[in-house]
Protein backbone atom coordinates (compact mmCIF):
# COMPACT_ATOMS: atom_id res chain seq x y z
CA UNK A 1 0.00 0.00 0.00
CA UNK A 2 1.58 3.26 -1.11
CA UNK A 3 1.30 5.90 1.57
CA UNK A 4 0.91 8.66 -0.97
CA UNK A 5 -1.61 7.14 -3.34
CA UNK A 6 -4.59 6.35 -1.18
CA UNK A 7 -6.94 8.74 0.55
CA UNK A 8 -8.52 7.18 3.63
CA UNK A 9 -12.03 8.31 4.34
CA UNK A 10 -13.94 7.65 7.55
CA UNK A 11 -17.26 5.84 7.31
CA UNK A 12 -19.78 8.65 7.70
CA UNK A 13 -22.19 6.38 9.58
CA UNK A 14 -19.74 6.04 12.45
CA UNK A 15 -20.16 8.35 15.42
CA UNK A 16 -16.94 10.01 16.59
CA UNK A 17 -16.82 11.68 20.00
CA UNK A 18 -13.66 13.25 21.34
CA UNK A 19 -13.28 13.71 25.09
CA UNK A 20 -11.40 16.01 27.47
CA UNK A 21 -8.27 13.85 27.55
CA UNK A 22 -8.02 13.65 23.72
CA UNK A 23 -9.15 10.04 23.69
CA UNK A 24 -12.18 9.42 21.50
CA UNK A 25 -14.91 6.90 21.13
CA UNK A 26 -16.15 5.46 17.84
CA UNK A 27 -19.64 4.05 17.82
CA UNK A 28 -21.14 1.93 15.06
CA UNK A 29 -24.91 2.26 15.53
CA UNK A 30 -25.76 -0.62 13.19
CA UNK A 31 -23.51 -3.13 14.92
CA UNK A 32 -23.88 -1.56 18.39
CA UNK A 33 -20.10 -1.66 18.69
CA UNK A 34 -17.88 0.83 20.48
CA UNK A 35 -14.17 1.37 19.94
CA UNK A 36 -11.73 3.49 21.88
CA UNK A 37 -9.18 5.65 20.08
CA UNK A 38 -6.09 6.90 21.85
CA UNK A 39 -5.09 10.53 21.17
CA UNK A 40 -2.88 9.70 18.16
CA UNK A 41 -5.53 7.46 16.61
CA UNK A 42 -8.14 10.15 17.23
CA UNK A 43 -5.89 12.67 15.48
CA UNK A 44 -5.54 10.36 12.48
CA UNK A 45 -9.30 9.71 12.39
CA UNK A 46 -10.00 13.42 12.12
CA UNK A 47 -7.74 13.66 9.08
CA UNK A 48 -9.46 10.81 7.25
CA UNK A 49 -11.60 13.09 5.13
CA UNK A 50 -10.73 11.75 1.69
CA UNK A 51 -8.47 14.75 1.09
CA UNK A 52 -5.33 13.58 2.88
CA UNK A 53 -3.14 10.69 1.83
CA UNK A 54 -1.51 8.57 4.48
CA UNK A 55 1.71 10.42 3.79
CA UNK A 56 -0.11 13.72 4.37
CA UNK A 57 -1.46 12.42 7.66
CA UNK A 58 2.01 11.32 8.77
CA UNK A 59 3.35 14.77 7.93
CA UNK A 60 0.58 16.46 9.94
CA UNK A 61 1.18 14.10 12.83
CA UNK A 62 4.88 15.04 12.88
CA UNK A 63 3.93 18.72 12.92
CA UNK A 64 1.54 18.14 15.82
CA UNK A 65 3.50 15.70 18.00
CA UNK A 66 7.02 15.48 19.34
CA UNK A 67 9.07 12.31 19.08
CA UNK A 68 7.08 10.56 16.37
CA UNK A 69 8.88 7.20 16.05
CA UNK A 70 10.58 6.13 12.84
CA UNK A 71 8.22 3.22 12.43
CA UNK A 72 5.11 5.44 12.61
CA UNK A 73 4.24 4.72 8.94
CA UNK A 74 4.00 1.02 9.75
CA UNK A 75 1.68 1.73 12.69
CA UNK A 76 -0.50 4.07 10.64
CA UNK A 77 -0.76 1.47 7.90
CA UNK A 78 -1.68 -1.20 10.45
CA UNK A 79 -4.23 1.06 12.12
CA UNK A 80 -5.91 1.87 8.82
CA UNK A 81 -5.94 -1.76 7.75
CA UNK A 82 -7.63 -2.67 11.03
CA UNK A 83 -10.18 0.11 10.61
CA UNK A 84 -10.88 -1.03 7.06
CA UNK A 85 -11.37 -4.61 8.21
CA UNK A 86 -13.95 -3.40 10.71
CA UNK A 87 -15.78 -1.39 8.07
CA UNK A 88 -14.93 1.91 9.71
CA UNK A 89 -12.75 3.30 6.92
CA UNK A 90 -12.65 3.18 3.13
CA UNK A 91 -10.05 4.36 0.62
CA UNK A 92 -10.24 6.57 -2.40
CA UNK A 93 -7.54 6.07 -5.00
CA UNK A 94 -5.41 8.93 -6.30
Amino acid sequence: MELNKQYPIANSMIVFREEFDDWAVLFDPDANETFGLNPVSAFIWKKMDGKHTQADILKLLKEECDDVPDDAPVHIKGFLADMEKRGLVGFEQA
Binding site: V15, R17, V25, N32, F35, G36
Partner: protein
Protein backbone atom coordinates in the same frame (compact mmCIF):
# COMPACT_ATOMS: atom_id res chain seq x y z
CA UNK B 1 -19.76 -13.65 24.14
CA UNK B 2 -16.00 -13.33 24.32
CA UNK B 3 -15.59 -14.29 27.97
CA UNK B 4 -17.04 -17.69 27.19
CA UNK B 5 -14.56 -18.50 24.47
CA UNK B 6 -11.98 -19.97 26.85
CA UNK B 7 -10.04 -22.83 25.38
CA UNK B 8 -11.00 -26.07 26.98
CA UNK B 9 -11.50 -29.65 25.95
CA UNK B 10 -14.95 -29.74 27.48
CA UNK B 11 -17.85 -29.21 25.10
CA UNK B 12 -19.69 -25.91 25.35
CA UNK B 13 -22.89 -26.43 27.37
CA UNK B 14 -26.14 -26.69 25.45
CA UNK B 15 -27.07 -23.08 26.31
CA UNK B 16 -23.94 -21.87 24.48
CA UNK B 17 -22.26 -20.40 27.54
CA UNK B 18 -19.55 -21.91 29.67
CA UNK B 19 -19.79 -21.56 33.40
CA UNK B 20 -16.61 -19.71 34.39
CA UNK B 21 -17.07 -18.94 38.05
CA UNK B 22 -19.29 -19.98 40.93
CA UNK B 23 -19.84 -17.37 43.62
CA UNK B 24 -20.21 -19.25 46.88
CA UNK B 25 -22.02 -17.21 49.54
CA UNK B 26 -20.79 -19.73 52.05
CA UNK B 27 -22.53 -18.54 55.19
CA UNK B 28 -25.91 -17.12 56.04
CA UNK B 29 -24.38 -15.37 59.03
CA UNK B 30 -21.62 -12.79 59.35
CA UNK B 31 -19.44 -11.77 62.27
CA UNK B 32 -19.95 -8.07 61.46
CA UNK B 33 -23.08 -5.91 61.22
CA UNK B 34 -22.23 -3.62 58.33
CA UNK B 35 -24.73 -0.83 57.88
CA UNK B 36 -24.34 -0.75 54.08
CA UNK B 37 -24.40 -4.49 53.28
CA UNK B 38 -26.32 -5.31 50.09
CA UNK B 39 -27.05 -8.85 51.28
CA UNK B 40 -27.84 -8.20 54.96
CA UNK B 41 -26.79 -11.52 56.55
CA UNK B 42 -27.69 -12.35 60.14
CA UNK B 43 -25.20 -11.43 62.85
CA UNK B 44 -23.24 -14.45 64.00
CA UNK B 45 -21.69 -14.44 67.46
CA UNK B 46 -20.74 -17.04 70.04
CA UNK B 47 -24.41 -17.20 71.01
CA UNK B 48 -25.97 -17.26 67.58
CA UNK B 49 -24.89 -19.56 64.75
CA UNK B 50 -26.51 -19.55 61.33
CA UNK B 51 -26.52 -22.14 58.56
CA UNK B 52 -23.58 -22.54 56.23
CA UNK B 53 -23.17 -24.49 53.00
CA UNK B 54 -22.67 -28.18 53.67
CA UNK B 55 -19.15 -29.29 52.70
CA UNK B 56 -20.29 -32.43 50.85
CA UNK B 57 -22.75 -30.31 48.90
CA UNK B 58 -19.96 -27.82 48.14
CA UNK B 59 -17.86 -30.64 46.66
CA UNK B 60 -20.81 -31.89 44.61
CA UNK B 61 -21.44 -28.41 43.19
CA UNK B 62 -17.74 -27.98 42.35
CA UNK B 63 -17.74 -31.31 40.51
CA UNK B 64 -20.82 -30.35 38.52
CA UNK B 65 -19.41 -26.90 37.84
CA UNK B 66 -16.20 -28.34 36.44
CA UNK B 67 -18.22 -30.36 33.95
CA UNK B 68 -19.66 -27.06 32.67
CA UNK B 69 -16.22 -25.47 32.31
CA UNK B 70 -15.81 -23.77 35.68
CA UNK B 71 -12.24 -22.84 36.53
CA UNK B 72 -12.72 -20.16 39.19
CA UNK B 73 -14.49 -19.91 42.49
CA UNK B 74 -15.26 -16.87 44.57
CA UNK B 75 -15.82 -17.33 48.29
CA UNK B 76 -17.89 -14.62 49.85
CA UNK B 77 -20.71 -14.32 52.34
CA UNK B 78 -21.84 -13.48 54.88
CA UNK B 79 -18.25 -14.01 55.82
CA UNK B 80 -16.65 -16.98 54.10
CA UNK B 81 -13.84 -17.48 56.59
CA UNK B 82 -16.23 -18.23 59.49
CA UNK B 83 -17.50 -21.31 57.65
CA UNK B 84 -16.95 -24.26 60.03
CA UNK B 85 -15.28 -26.27 57.24
CA UNK B 86 -13.27 -23.46 55.65
CA UNK B 87 -10.04 -25.48 56.02
CA UNK B 88 -11.51 -28.38 54.06
CA UNK B 89 -13.04 -26.03 51.48
CA UNK B 90 -9.69 -24.34 50.80
CA UNK B 91 -7.95 -27.73 50.59
CA UNK B 92 -10.53 -28.92 48.08
CA UNK B 93 -10.14 -25.78 45.95
CA UNK B 94 -6.39 -26.36 45.88
CA UNK B 95 -6.80 -30.04 45.01
CA UNK B 96 -9.16 -29.13 42.18
CA UNK B 97 -6.67 -26.51 40.88
CA UNK B 98 -9.35 -23.83 40.85
CA UNK B 99 -8.47 -20.17 40.71
CA UNK B 100 -9.54 -18.58 43.99
CA UNK B 101 -11.04 -15.21 44.86
CA UNK B 102 -12.09 -14.36 48.41
CA UNK B 103 -14.02 -11.38 49.68
CA UNK B 104 -13.58 -11.12 53.44
CA UNK B 105 -13.73 -8.67 56.31
CA UNK B 106 -10.27 -9.92 57.31
CA UNK B 107 -11.10 -10.84 60.88
CA UNK B 108 -10.41 -14.53 60.37
CA UNK B 109 -7.36 -14.16 58.13
CA UNK B 110 -5.24 -16.07 60.61
CA UNK B 111 -1.74 -17.34 59.75
CA UNK B 112 -3.21 -20.85 59.39
CA UNK B 113 -5.95 -19.79 56.98
CA UNK B 114 -3.71 -17.50 54.94
CA UNK B 115 -1.19 -20.35 54.58
CA UNK B 116 -3.92 -22.41 52.95
CA UNK B 117 -5.11 -19.54 50.75
CA UNK B 118 -1.68 -18.88 49.27
CA UNK B 119 -1.36 -22.52 48.24
CA UNK B 120 -4.37 -22.16 45.94
CA UNK B 121 -4.09 -21.18 42.29
CA UNK B 122 -3.70 -17.42 41.68
CA UNK B 123 -5.37 -16.40 44.93
CA UNK B 124 -6.94 -12.95 45.02
CA UNK B 125 -8.19 -11.68 48.37
CA UNK B 126 -10.16 -8.48 48.98
CA UNK B 127 -10.37 -7.20 52.54
CA UNK B 128 -12.98 -4.63 53.50
CA UNK B 129 -11.73 -1.56 55.31
CA UNK B 130 -14.09 1.39 55.53
CA UNK B 131 -12.03 3.84 57.52
CA UNK B 132 -8.43 4.61 58.33
CA UNK B 133 -9.21 4.65 62.04
CA UNK B 134 -11.15 2.34 64.33
CA UNK B 135 -13.89 4.86 65.03
CA UNK B 136 -14.86 5.28 61.39
CA UNK B 137 -14.44 1.65 60.35
CA UNK B 138 -16.39 0.35 63.32
CA UNK B 139 -19.20 2.90 62.84
CA UNK B 140 -19.69 1.26 59.44
CA UNK B 141 -19.02 -2.33 60.50
CA UNK B 142 -20.92 -2.33 63.77
CA UNK B 143 -18.49 -4.36 65.89
CA UNK B 144 -15.83 -3.09 68.29
CA UNK B 145 -12.32 -4.34 67.63
CA UNK B 146 -13.00 -5.08 63.97
CA UNK B 147 -10.57 -2.41 62.72
CA UNK B 148 -7.51 -3.81 64.45
CA UNK B 149 -8.57 -7.33 63.52
CA UNK B 150 -8.90 -6.39 59.84
CA UNK B 151 -5.49 -4.71 59.82
CA UNK B 152 -4.04 -7.80 61.46
CA UNK B 153 -5.68 -9.95 58.78
CA UNK B 154 -4.15 -7.81 56.03
CA UNK B 155 -0.73 -8.18 57.65
CA UNK B 156 -1.13 -11.93 57.92
CA UNK B 157 -1.94 -12.11 54.20
CA UNK B 158 1.09 -9.98 53.31
CA UNK B 159 3.33 -12.07 55.58
CA UNK B 160 2.11 -15.17 53.75
CA UNK B 161 3.16 -13.60 50.46
CA UNK B 162 -0.22 -12.42 49.21
CA UNK B 163 -0.84 -8.71 48.67
CA UNK B 164 -4.56 -8.19 49.19
CA UNK B 165 -6.87 -5.64 47.65
CA UNK B 166 -8.47 -3.26 50.13
CA UNK B 167 -12.12 -2.47 49.45
CA UNK B 168 -13.50 0.72 50.92
CA UNK B 169 -17.20 1.49 50.65
CA UNK B 170 -17.50 5.23 50.21
CA UNK B 171 -20.15 7.16 52.14
CA UNK B 172 -20.64 10.51 53.86
CA UNK B 173 -18.89 9.39 57.02
CA UNK B 174 -15.60 8.41 55.32
CA UNK B 175 -15.56 10.51 52.14
CA UNK B 176 -12.58 12.52 53.42
CA UNK B 177 -10.47 9.42 54.04
CA UNK B 178 -9.89 8.20 50.50
CA UNK B 179 -6.40 9.60 50.14
CA UNK B 180 -5.47 8.43 53.65
CA UNK B 181 -6.80 4.97 52.78
CA UNK B 182 -4.50 4.82 49.76
CA UNK B 183 -1.55 5.81 51.95
CA UNK B 184 -2.52 3.14 54.48
CA UNK B 185 -2.79 0.54 51.71
CA UNK B 186 0.62 1.51 50.33
CA UNK B 187 2.14 1.29 53.81
CA UNK B 188 0.60 -2.12 54.45
CA UNK B 189 1.80 -3.43 51.06
CA UNK B 190 -1.67 -3.95 49.68
CA UNK B 191 -1.92 -4.64 45.98
CA UNK B 192 -4.70 -2.17 45.21
CA UNK B 193 -7.61 -0.20 46.61
CA UNK B 194 -11.12 -0.48 45.27
CA UNK B 195 -13.62 2.21 46.19
CA UNK B 196 -17.10 0.73 46.17
CA UNK B 197 -20.22 2.85 46.12
CA UNK B 198 -23.00 2.08 48.56
CA UNK B 199 -25.79 0.69 46.44
CA UNK B 200 -29.47 1.19 47.30
CA UNK B 201 -29.92 -2.49 48.05
CA UNK B 202 -30.92 -4.10 51.39
CA UNK B 203 -29.13 -2.19 54.20
CA UNK B 204 -27.58 0.13 51.63
CA UNK B 205 -31.08 1.24 50.72
CA UNK B 206 -31.67 2.27 54.33
CA UNK B 207 -28.47 4.33 54.24
CA UNK B 208 -29.63 6.05 51.06
CA UNK B 209 -32.99 6.79 52.70
CA UNK B 210 -31.24 8.12 55.81
CA UNK B 211 -29.06 10.49 53.80
CA UNK B 212 -25.86 8.73 54.88
CA UNK B 213 -24.63 8.18 51.34
CA UNK B 214 -23.07 10.70 49.00
CA UNK B 215 -25.06 12.89 46.64
CA UNK B 216 -24.78 12.15 42.95
CA UNK B 217 -22.72 15.30 42.48
CA UNK B 218 -20.31 14.18 45.22
CA UNK B 219 -20.05 10.69 43.72
CA UNK B 220 -19.29 11.99 40.23
CA UNK B 221 -16.76 14.56 41.47
CA UNK B 222 -15.08 12.00 43.70
CA UNK B 223 -14.89 9.55 40.79
CA UNK B 224 -13.23 12.13 38.57
CA UNK B 225 -10.79 13.01 41.33
CA UNK B 226 -9.87 9.38 42.00
CA UNK B 227 -9.46 8.52 38.31
CA UNK B 228 -7.59 11.65 37.23
CA UNK B 229 -5.72 12.88 40.30
CA UNK B 230 -5.43 10.29 43.05
CA UNK B 231 -4.76 7.23 40.87
CA UNK B 232 -1.85 8.77 38.90
CA UNK B 233 -0.20 9.81 42.17
CA UNK B 234 -0.38 6.39 43.81
CA UNK B 235 2.11 3.56 43.61
CA UNK B 236 -0.71 0.99 43.65
CA UNK B 237 -3.71 0.42 41.46
CA UNK B 238 -6.90 2.27 42.37
CA UNK B 239 -10.38 1.35 41.18
CA UNK B 240 -13.46 3.52 41.62
CA UNK B 241 -16.54 1.41 40.99
CA UNK B 242 -18.58 3.82 38.94
CA UNK B 243 -20.12 2.59 35.68
CA UNK B 244 -18.16 2.51 32.43
CA UNK B 245 -19.91 5.64 31.14
CA UNK B 246 -18.05 7.63 33.81
CA UNK B 247 -14.62 6.08 33.34
CA UNK B 248 -11.92 7.73 31.22
CA UNK B 249 -11.74 6.08 27.78
CA UNK B 250 -8.05 5.42 28.26
CA UNK B 251 -8.90 3.15 31.17
CA UNK B 252 -11.94 1.54 29.57
CA UNK B 253 -10.02 0.49 26.49
CA UNK B 254 -6.52 -0.10 27.80
CA UNK B 255 -7.23 -2.05 30.97
CA UNK B 256 -8.77 -5.45 31.53
CA UNK B 257 -12.54 -5.37 31.37
CA UNK B 258 -14.16 -4.63 34.70
CA UNK B 259 -17.65 -5.60 33.62
CA UNK B 260 -19.60 -8.18 35.52
CA UNK B 261 -18.98 -11.62 34.04
CA UNK B 262 -22.67 -12.36 34.26
CA UNK B 263 -22.73 -14.69 31.25
CA UNK B 264 -20.38 -17.09 33.02
CA UNK B 265 -21.46 -16.86 36.67
CA UNK B 266 -23.90 -18.50 39.00
CA UNK B 267 -24.32 -18.03 42.73
CA UNK B 268 -24.74 -20.59 45.51
CA UNK B 269 -26.20 -19.37 48.79
CA UNK B 270 -25.36 -20.70 52.24
CA UNK B 271 -28.66 -22.56 52.17
CA UNK B 272 -27.51 -24.54 49.13
CA UNK B 273 -29.86 -22.67 46.79
CA UNK B 274 -28.69 -21.68 43.32
CA UNK B 275 -29.25 -18.00 42.55
CA UNK B 276 -28.20 -15.28 40.14
CA UNK B 277 -25.76 -14.17 42.86
CA UNK B 278 -26.09 -13.05 46.48
CA UNK B 279 -29.18 -11.10 45.50
CA UNK B 280 -31.08 -14.35 45.92
CA UNK B 281 -30.85 -13.75 49.69
CA UNK B 282 -33.26 -10.82 49.37
CA UNK B 283 -35.03 -11.45 46.03
CA UNK B 284 -36.59 -14.93 46.03
CA UNK B 285 -37.48 -14.88 42.33
CA UNK B 286 -33.76 -14.82 41.54
CA UNK B 287 -33.30 -18.19 43.23
CA UNK B 288 -33.03 -20.85 40.54
CA UNK B 289 -33.10 -24.14 42.41
CA UNK B 290 -31.74 -26.24 45.23
CA UNK B 291 -28.37 -27.98 44.98
CA UNK B 292 -29.69 -30.81 47.16
CA UNK B 293 -32.07 -31.91 44.46
CA UNK B 294 -31.48 -29.97 41.24
CA UNK B 295 -28.67 -30.62 38.77
CA UNK B 296 -26.50 -27.59 38.07
CA UNK B 297 -26.39 -28.52 34.40
CA UNK B 298 -30.18 -28.33 34.14
CA UNK B 299 -30.28 -24.95 35.80
CA UNK B 300 -27.37 -23.57 33.77
CA UNK B 301 -28.90 -24.66 30.48
CA UNK B 302 -32.58 -24.13 31.10
CA UNK B 303 -33.26 -21.53 33.75
CA UNK B 304 -35.53 -18.93 32.13
CA UNK B 305 -33.98 -15.97 33.96
CA UNK B 306 -30.47 -16.92 32.85
CA UNK B 307 -31.69 -17.42 29.31
CA UNK B 308 -33.53 -14.07 29.35
CA UNK B 309 -30.32 -12.37 30.46
CA UNK B 310 -28.28 -14.12 27.76
CA UNK B 311 -30.75 -13.13 25.11
CA UNK B 312 -31.42 -9.60 26.32
CA UNK B 313 -28.09 -8.11 27.39
CA UNK B 314 -27.26 -5.49 26.29
CA UNK B 315 -29.88 -5.02 23.54
CA UNK B 316 -32.91 -4.94 25.84
CA UNK B 317 -31.47 -2.48 28.34
CA UNK B 318 -33.65 0.57 28.49
CA UNK B 319 -33.74 4.02 30.03
CA UNK B 320 -30.39 5.73 30.15
CA UNK B 321 -28.58 2.38 29.76
CA UNK B 322 -30.42 1.70 26.50
CA UNK B 323 -29.16 5.00 25.13
CA UNK B 324 -25.57 4.64 26.33
CA UNK B 325 -22.87 3.89 23.76
CA UNK B 326 -20.93 1.98 26.40
CA UNK B 327 -23.60 -0.58 27.22
CA UNK B 328 -21.72 -3.38 25.45
CA UNK B 329 -18.79 -2.80 27.79
CA UNK B 330 -21.00 -2.26 30.83
CA UNK B 331 -24.03 -4.58 30.41
CA UNK B 332 -26.00 -2.32 32.75
CA UNK B 333 -23.30 -2.66 35.43
CA UNK B 334 -25.25 -4.98 37.74
CA UNK B 335 -28.39 -6.78 36.65
CA UNK B 336 -29.05 -7.98 40.21
CA UNK B 337 -29.22 -4.51 41.67
CA UNK B 338 -31.15 -3.15 38.71
CA UNK B 339 -33.70 -5.91 39.23
CA UNK B 340 -33.85 -5.22 42.97
CA UNK B 341 -34.88 -1.63 42.27
CA UNK B 342 -37.27 -2.10 39.36
CA UNK B 343 -38.22 -5.80 39.22
CA UNK B 344 -36.96 -5.70 35.65
CA UNK B 345 -33.79 -7.47 34.42
CA UNK B 346 -33.12 -4.77 31.85
CA UNK B 347 -33.83 -1.71 33.95
CA UNK B 348 -31.20 1.03 34.01
CA UNK B 349 -28.47 1.13 36.59
CA UNK B 350 -29.23 3.37 39.59
CA UNK B 351 -26.03 5.40 39.34
CA UNK B 352 -26.55 6.30 35.68
CA UNK B 353 -30.26 6.87 36.18
CA UNK B 354 -29.69 9.26 39.09
CA UNK B 355 -26.81 10.98 37.31
CA UNK B 356 -29.00 11.55 34.26
CA UNK B 357 -31.76 13.05 36.42
CA UNK B 358 -29.19 15.35 38.05
CA UNK B 359 -27.82 16.41 34.65
CA UNK B 360 -24.50 14.70 35.38
CA UNK B 361 -24.49 11.86 32.85
CA UNK B 362 -21.68 12.44 30.32
CA UNK B 363 -23.27 13.55 27.05
CA UNK B 364 -20.34 12.23 25.01
CA UNK B 365 -21.37 8.68 25.95
CA UNK B 366 -24.95 8.97 24.67
CA UNK B 367 -26.08 7.61 21.32
CA UNK B 368 -26.90 10.24 18.70
CA UNK B 369 -30.55 11.20 18.90
CA UNK B 370 -30.92 10.06 22.50
CA UNK B 371 -33.87 11.61 24.29
CA UNK B 372 -31.46 12.28 27.15
CA UNK B 373 -29.16 14.51 25.06
Amino acid sequence: MSENKTETKLPVPQCGYRLNTIYFYLTEGCNLKCRHCWIAPKYQSKDAKWPALDFELFKSIVRQGRELGMSNVKLTGGEPLIHPDIDKILDHIREQDLQLTIETNGLECTPEITAKIVKCKKPHVSVSLDGTDAETHEWVRGVKGSFDAAINGIRNLVKAGLRPQIIMSVMSRNKNQLEAMVKLAEKENADSVKFNLVTPTARGEQMHDAGQTLTMQELVELGNWVENTLAPSSTIKLVYSHPVAFRPLGKVFSQASSRCGIFGIIGVLGSGKYALCGIGATVPELIFGDAEKDKLEDIWNNNPVLNDIREGLPSKLHGICGDCMMNVQCLGACVAMNYYRHKDLFAPQWYCEEAQKAGLFPKSRLRPGSRFE
